[in-house]
């Protein structure tokens, strides 16, 4: 398991690295095929040795390319959901990684990759100057190995040697990383382990203890230091600038740093031992139940015998109930008068929210305004919407024919659906709309609902014009304003 040939294709980084290598090698092949056009290469191609070398090189690139295509395809295919339930041997196929293990891998991959890349660069530079093949890592891909072994390799330009070495080491990095991390990888998927199974914690014991100590301490320490920095930043921000963004961010760094440190500590530096324990039966054994019941009933007999005391208990509960009900009563008014009291009375002038009386010609046709009765300006329940339309458009029912002098129509502004303010008016379609649930009411027909969830029309306020030309209420609303309730008369 620890020494498998294939780099695990499941890692995203591997896929990216493979794809990158593929692109580079294809580009190299393309360059090779057009090589004779450049003067220096054409000259080299004329000698038989040079031709041989070019042929070998081309072959090598093709082999590399093909192998990379194959690897890339395998990597891509491994992204798909794989059956994890099927039993399989470790040698046959790499095991699926657990998410946590993959996370660990990511952490170490960055460090290892940069280290290896630097090392391989140095090695390839040295190889170029010493004119030695650079495939010592032993895990070079087949094409690169052939290239290095061929006698023509010494004649290839230094840059290409370096590139081949880089390639070889890049592919080696994948394997080294895999091998290094192999002991954190689950040994095998046991048959019957679904993807959803909770973690088998014993696997973590395979992690190299020493490395766990080193990495764990380093990571937890760094996180805690970040936390301290965040805490300092919070205090500094608080006493100087105090801006919300900085306060929040520094608090997040402080809390997150210490939170992360604790999680890392738990993950890397504490023992993970899987525990298996028997579950007790959740119900009591029958004898225990019987004993408990017996003892309860023995005691209860003493209570049951005393009839008078029982009745006293009932009376006490009754008294308590009546006290509670009395106290509840002090919480609120009975709904009956408050809900049903009319808010407009005959003769009241219509006032704007600023307390200015509204005249019959205050509004132009198409206009809309919020009005209140003259003694309750700005009150919630009396809010009324006044719209003016062209007189000939009004289609009120016959009994309301004189309710709209001069095309002035007044309706309750409280939606009959859920009680929001019906505050939007579209003059072209003569629709009042409630912003909460988009019920629409046609002002021409007595505010009948034309769309949305409202079922009842907005109550209308009959109007007349007094001798000063002011609008006054001729009566209360035609219905009870506001949302419906059980006892609401129709």
């Amino acid at each position: 398991m620890t020494d498998r040939e294939e780099p695990n294709p499941g890692s995203l980084l591997q896929i990216v690295a493979n794809a990158w290598k593929l692109v580079r090698s294809l580009a190299a092949v393309a360059k090779q095929s057009s090589a004779p056009e450049t003067a220096s290469q054409a000259a080299a191609a004329e000698s038989s040795e040079g031709r041989e070398a070019a042929r070998l090189r081309k072959g090598a690139w093709i082999v590399i390319g093909a192998s990379l295509v194959w690897k890339g395809a395998r990597a891509l295919s491994s992204l798909r959901l794989k059956p994890s339930a099927e039993p399989r041997t470790a040698a046959a196929e790499p095991a699926q990684e657990e998410p946590a293990v993959r996370k660990e891998k990511w952490l170490m991959l960055g460090a290892l990759l940069s280290w290896k890349a630097g090392k391989s660069l140095a090695r390839s530079t040295a190889a170029t100057f010493l004119e030695q093949p650079a495939s010592e890592s032993g895990a070079a891909s087949a094409g690169a190995a052939r290239l290095a072994e061929s006698p023509a390799a010494s004649t290839t330009p230094p840059a290409e040697t370096a590139w081949a070495a880089l390639q070889a080491s890049a592919s080696a990095v994948g394997q080294v990383v895999n091998r290094t991390l192999a002991d954190t990888t689950p040994v095998e998927d046991l048959p019957g382990t679904g993807r959803g199974a909770d973690r088998n914690l014993d696997r973590e014991n395979e992690v190299n203890l020493e490395r766990r100590e080193r990495w764990g301490t380093l990571l937890a320490m760094s996180a805690a230091l970040a936390g301290v920095a965040g805490g300092i930043a919070f205090v500094v921000t608080f006493w100087t600038d105090g801006r919300n963004e900085w306060l929040g961010s520094s608090a997040a760094v402080f809390l997150g740093g210490f939170g992360l440190a604790m999680v890392l500590w738990a993950h890397w530096l504490t023992a993970h031992k899987e525990a298996v324990e028997p579950r007790e039966r959740v119900s009591s054994p029958p004898p225990e139940q019987q004993q408990a019941a017996q003892e309860f009933l023995t005691g209860a007999a003493d209570i049951r015998r005393r009839r008078l005391l029982q009745w006293m208990g009932v009376a006490g509960l009754g008294a308590l109930g009546s006290i509670v009900i009395s106290l509840i009563r002090s919480l609120g008014l009975p709904p009956s008068p408050a809900l049903e009291t009319d808010v407009w009375k005959r003769g009241q002038r219509l006032m704007t929210v600023d307390g200015v009386p509204v005249g019959v010609d205050s509004l132009a046709p198409g206009g809309m305004i919020v009005v209140f009765p003259e003694n309750a300006v700005g009150s919630e329940k009396t809010q009324t919407v006044l719209v003016r339309v062209r007189q000939d458009l009004v289609q009120l029912p016959p009994q309301r024919s004189d309710w709209a002098p001069g095309g002035n129509l007044a309706y309750s502004r409280i939606c009959t659906h859920a009680g929001c303010s019906v505050g939007m008016y579209e003059a072209n379609s003569h629709l009042l709309m409630c912003p909460c649930h988009q019920s629409t009411f046609n002002v021409l027909t007595g505010a009948l609902p034309t769309g949305g969830p409202a079922a009842r029309p907005l109550p209308q306020l009959p109007l007349y014009v007094d001798s000063n030309g002011h609008l006054r209420a001729a009566d209360g609303f035609s219905d009870y304003p506001g949302p419906g309730f059980w006892g609401m008369p129709s």
């Binding site: 019957g192 919300n244 963004e245 608090a251 604790m262 912003p435 969830p453 079922a455």
Partner: protein, 453 residues
């Protein structure tokens, strides 16, 4: 050592060593989906911490005052005392805005985590015997959390909370027979009245959090007694529990999770604006707020209220208003269904046995498909809760979108049901999972062996 000294002092008075040992060795399985409940718990802790801070500045009163504070655009405007105190907290108290936004975000996370936790329980059938009892407790916690979220944003005295309060009032009022009475007793009259905000505030900071705390305790005690469930896997049976001991690894991780969640909430509170009441403006009856939406967790009720047709019911001289059906009856039915589900499932599957090993969602295709169907319907409703905003953004008409959504709210669940069911069956056929259920022989054997005393 001082620690040992204190431990001995306490133990010599209350005899704790045995319990402590049991607690340290408590076995808890390790899986990401088991963290959802923990997140909810920790979000509640954050809510209590930030809420206590806020309560020191908030005035639960709708008395009218003239605002004079740091926020210049509202200088000299008549606002409620509650609104003034929220502005004071946001603009004049150092870190006040941070704490307030953290509180609101934590509330959203709290309810989100509870819902996610609920879904995890549902889709893995963790509600089966003996855990029906904790399902009931957990659902009650969800109801309380939803109620407290609503109460919380209803007391700020801004335009949005005023609209929300009036809608809540209309829903309460619509309940047949008792609606007007309980509304007047609870809210003190026709909303808005001066009595309302102090009452809601008292409920928001005292009664409901106290109940939530109590029920969280009950919830955890039951988990403690019953031990956690395991996902199916090797060594995981109905007779064993597999996991990590509470001390020290699990404890550290869990506390780390708390701090990380706190960090996320702090970052959100600092960087993401939420409930900017100064932009909505103070509540007054003349102003309107187009595009108003409740917080996300009530969006499905809002959506139902928008999609339900305008039909009310006349019973003789009595009225059942249209808002009763989507606003009250529908959520009540949803929660009744949720409360009844474990018992309903027992009678549907004829499985009355004790279970400690979970079912994978695909191992229960009918239930998973049903759950996903309901969920998709809920998402349509949630979407419908913002249909006016969608219409505005897409330049479409609300009516058209609403017609589409009215169809979709029935069609999408049906399609989802069929699709999910097929997917589950396909997955089971392709990748069979060894069943954790006992065979009839095993059950017989178990029943014939005497119980351990």
């Amino acid at each position: 050592m001082i620690g040992a000294g204190i431990a001995r002092w306490v133990d010599s008075r209350v005899r704790l060593a045995k319990f402590v040992r049991k607690a340290l060795n408590h076995v808890f399985p390790d899986h990401w989906s088991f963290m959802l409940g923990e997140i909810a718990l920790y979000a509640f802790v954050i809510l209590v911490i930030t809420g206590t801070f806020m309560a020191m500045f908030f005035h639960g009163s709708s008395a009218k005052v003239i605002y004079h504070g740091s926020y210049r655009p509202l200088d000299g405007v008549q606002v409620s005392s509650a609104y003034q105190s929220v502005l004071h907290l946001s603009f004049d108290v150092p870190a006040g805005l941070l704490i307030r936004q953290m509180h609101h975000w934590a509330a959203d996370i709290f309810i989100g985590a509870i819902v996610a936790h609920l879904l995890r329980i549902f889709f893995t059938a963790a509600y089966r015997r003996p855990r029906e009892i904790n399902w009931l407790v957990g659902l009650t916690l969800l109801v309380l959390a939803l109620a407290n979220g609503y109460l919380g944003y209803s007391i700020c005295g801004d335009l949005l909370s005023g609209a929300g309060l009036r809608i809540g009032y209309a829903i309460m009022l619509s309940i047949p027979v008792i609606g007007p009475w309980i509304t007047f007793l609870a809210l003190g009259g026709t909303v808005p009245v001066a009595a309302t905000v102090p009452r809601l505030y008292a409920l928001h900071i005292f009664l409901v959090p106290a109940l939530i705390t109590l029920l969280i305790g009950v919830h955890l005690a039951i988990i403690w007694r019953q031990l956690h469930t395991n996902y199916p896997g090797p060594k995981r049976t109905d007779k064993t529990i597999v996991g990590a001991r509470l001390w020290p690894s699990y404890t550290l991780k869990s506390l780390g999770l708390f701090l990380l969640l706190f960090a996320v909430v702090a970052a959100m509170g600092g960087l993401l604006q939420i409930d900017p009441v100064w932009i909505y403006g103070p509540y007054n009856p003349v102003a309107i707020l187009p595009g108003a939406q409740p917080d996300w967790y009530l969006g499905w009720v809002e959506g139902a209220m928008r999609l339900f047709p305008g039909v009310n019911l006349r019973l003789g001289r009595y009225l059942v208003p249209e808002v009763f059906f989507p606003g009250f009856l529908f959520p009540v039915l949803v929660f009744m269904g949720l409360y009844a589900w474990p018992f309903l499932e027992k009678f549907l599957t004829f499985d009355f046995r004790t279970h400690h090993v979970l079912r994978l969602p695909r191992q229960q295709p009918w239930i998973t498909a049903f759950g996903c169907a309901v969920l998709s319907g809920m998402l349509v409703l949630l979407f419908a809760g913002g249909d006016d905003v969608v219409a505005l953004a897409e330049n479409g008409s609300v009516t058209q979108i609403r017609t589409l959504l009215r169809i979709l709210v029935f069609v999408l669940p049906a399609v989802t049901f069929a699709l999910v069911y097929l997917l589950c069956r396909l997955a089971n056929w392709k990748y069979p999972v060894a069943s954790a259920e006992q065979t009839p022989e095993e059950i017989l054997q178990e029943e014939s062996t005497p119980q351990p005393q």
